[in-house]
């Protein structure tokens, strides 16, 4: 099998290198078009912030020159060297792609985004006309692996970033976020990210308080909502349900007494305080107040760690799925081999010939029976001659190219011995 994968990923290269090799959709189209000209009949290019990988089949070009080509295309030499690339071929390449699609090769185990990116890469390659029967089947199998992993395992479940963990907690406390409001105090990166996630989940109303009013206004302009005076920040607690606090302050900016007072004013409506400030912004004693849910960066970090551990525990299930799909894929692939197909074709026809001769043997005189055998056999050989030579020739010249594969499949399906070759899946 002349399948190979080359690429750089977070395993083999630093972020700096990966950034240089990242390709936009347009660049991918360019690469695929050039590779087609360079006698690489089938290729798919996956590019994300964590990996840039080229899967190719039947290439007349060796791996070293493919690596060189990619580096030159990006003009990334000398900071990117062929040594930054990992490579795999045949079964290992298939296994690698399945692991990528399943999310267990990702930087964050179970990353959901990768499946969409693999699908996009497949679509781009199909549009560029660089997927033939083998890569098409391979990509479909990889997408199938990803789908199975998502539905049959829990590897994608549980938030694995502090900001998402906070959002997940919010949706365990409140039923309908669109009826809730959030107050962001300060403007740390994680705080903003959490706010963005909440906005993405359709949070009802956003308020932003910052010691520098201009910063608050700028964020309001970007995300919507209203700006609140920093001095009146504690008063604002009265009317919001979620508070994200990431202020750079040496002392607590919210004290239990404040919270206690506010809880009375808000008739004990649940209040979710997310304290991402280091040092902490909210006095942890506030945690004891009824209907107040206070989380600091450490407790959110603990949630993340727990979720990551849960995901790691799912890996054996995922590899089991991958193993099943590998077997399935190679069974299909094997059914494309010309040799066994010709043999089966011959056996099938020979069986028919034999049965018919035996059935009609009594109609012939004993002395003609040998002749009958001879004549029928000769007819059979003549019928078989052309298809057999064409197939053998094709396979010797081009291996599994589109023509051979479609001929083999036509033969198997028309004569009904395609039991090994399951029909390709619908996308």
């Amino acid at each position: 099998m002349k399948l190979s994968s080359i690429g750089i990923s977070h395993h083999s290269a630093s972020l700096d290198v990966r950034e240089r090799m990242w390709l936009s959709a347009d660049e991918i189209r360019g690469v695929l078009a050039q590779l087609k000209e360079r006698q690489v009949p089938e290729c798919v290019l996956v590019s994300t912030c964590n990996r840039t990988e080229l899967y190719s089949f039947g290439a007349a070009v060796d791996e070293a020159s493919l690596k060189r080509f990619l580096i030159d295309f990006k003009g990334a030499a000398p900071s990117v060297q062929p040594a930054h690339f990992d490579g795999a071929s045949a079964g290992n390449a298939v296994n690698h792609l399945f692991k990528v699609a399943a999310g267990i090769d990702s930087m964050v185990i179970g990353d959901i985004q990768i499946l969409g990116q693999v699908k996009e890469a497949f679509i781009l390659a199909r549009e560029a006309g660089t997927v033939g029967p083998i890569l098409s089947r391979l990509m479909q199998a990889a997408l199938h692996v990803g789908k199975r992993v998502r539905t049959e395992t829990t590897i994608c479940e549980g938030a694995v970033s502090v900001s998402y963990a906070a959002v997940e907690l919010a949706s365990k406390i409140f039923a309908d976020l669109s009826k809730k409001s959030v107050l962001l105090i300060g403007a740390g990166e994680t705080g903003e990210l959490t706010l963005k996630h909440l906005v993405g989940k359709g949070i009802g109303h956003v308020r932003i308080a910052n010691r520098t009013r201009a910063k608050a206004d700028a964020l309001v302009a970007a995300l919507g909502g209203t700006a609140v005076d920093y001095e009146h920040m504690v008063d604002a607690l009265r009317s919001v349900d979620i508070v994200i606090s990431s202020v750079n302050s040496p002392s607590y900016i919210v004290q239990p007494d404040d919270v206690q007072k506010v809880m009375k004013q808000r008739s004990n409506n649940p209040l979710f305080l997310i304290d991402i400030g280091v040092p902490r912004n909210v006095n942890p004693a506030a945690k004891r107040i009824e209907n107040v849910f206070l989380y600091d960066i450490d407790s959110l970090g603990a949630v993340v760690d727990k979720n990551l551990e849960n995901r790691r525990e799912e890996i054996p299930h995922v590899t089991a799925i991958i193993r099943e799909e590998l077997v399935e894929f190679f069974r299909w692939h094997k059914s494309l081999d010309v040799g066994p197909t010709i043999q089966e074709f011959r056996d099938a026809l020979e069986l028919i010939r034999k049965q018919e001769v035996e059935k009609n043997l009594n109609r012939f005189r004993p002395e003609d029976r040998e002749l009958l055998e001879l004549v029928t056999r000769r007819i059979l050989n003549k019928i078989l001659h052309t298809p057999t030579t064409v197939l053998k020739q094709e396979s010797e010249e081009a291996g599994h190219n589109a023509d051979t594969v479609s001929h083999v499949r036509a033969l198997r399906e028309l004569f009904g011995f395609s039991r090994n070759g399951r029909k390709p899946r619908d996308e």
Partner: protein
């Protein structure tokens, strides 16, 4: 026929025990076979239970609503059937364990203490009694469900508060939803019980010459009803929310259970007619 009734009396609580085990395994573990089987077992159990109630009606010539233990069995059946309806409608199977635990409790108490009564006093063949019992039944079912959701609320509340994220956290719906469900069921139960008490108060003095307003059962029922009135009033007037109200609901429900069992067993007044 009595023999059939008797074996079903033992079989039905056993079925509930199996159900509780299945829903427990499905909630705390992850066994796909159990997930597929449990709903079918639930359906079968509800059908068998209904057959048991029908058979009792036929064998003893009255619907099983004339003693508290007969009613408890109907209560268990309506709780299970109510849950089956919720499960089929919402496809949410995660609260089944807790609700069916309650049905199991009711049915076990009923099966242990129930008596086979054939001779009924004439006043129990009454349409008013039917209304009274239907209202009480609706009320008790609703209040039981409210208590289960309240209990789940408290468990989830403590998991979130103490940053322990176990099965409860993963499987249950969010706090606000649990609170709403508990509250809605409680309001429904409050009005239904109120109706049952009013019908009872109008009907009783006419039927019983020795009727007394100090009957322990009557006093107990009124006390519980007032407790719910206070709880609901506090929610509305004082704007109480969350944990505190759930605790009150659970305390009130504990009194309901006590009243249904202890008062009827030991301080028995007019509600035991035989």
């Amino acid at each position: 026929m009595t023999a059939a009734v008797d074996s079903l009396r033992i079989l039905v609580p056993c079925l509930y025990a199996v159900l509780v085990a299945l829903y427990g395994i499905s909630f705390f573990g992850n066994v796909p076979v159990v997930d597929r089987v449990k709903t079918w077992v639930l359906m079968v159990s509800v059908i068998v239970h209904c057959a048991y109630l029908a058979l009792r009606t036929a064998a003893f010539d009255h619907p099983p609503i004339t003693s508290v233990f007969e009613i408890m069995s109907v209560l268990a059946a309506s709780t299970a059937a109510g849950y089956a309806y919720i499960e089929l409608r919402t496809k949410a199977t995660n609260t089944g364990f807790f609700i069916l635990l309650l049905a199991f409790g009711f049915q076990t108490v009923s099966s242990v203490f129930i008596k086979d009564i054939t001779e009924l006093p004439h006043y129990l063949h009454s349409l008013v009694l039917g209304f009274h019992v239907a209202a009480a039944l609706l009320g008790y079912t609703a209040i039981s469900l409210s208590a289960v959701y309240g209990f789940l609320y408290l468990m989830l509340y403590h998991e979130i508060k103490s940053s322990r994220f176990g099965v409860i956290y993963v499987r249950l719906p969010n706090l606000e939803k649990l609170e709403t469900m508990s509250h809605k069921a409680e309001v429904l139960g409050f009005y239904a019980l109120g109706a049952a008490i009013v019908i009872g108060l109008l009907w009783l003095p006419r039927v019983f010459s020795e009727f007394s307003y100090w009957d322990p059962k009557l006093v107990g029922s009124l006390a519980i009803w007032l407790l719910y009135a206070v709880a609901l009033g506090a929610k509305k007037r004082l704007g109480w929310q969350g944990r505190k109200t759930m605790v009150i609901s659970l305390v009130a429900f504990a009194f309901v259970f006590l009243s249904l069992t202890v008062i009827n067993l030991y301080l028995s007044g007019f509600h035991s007619f035989h």
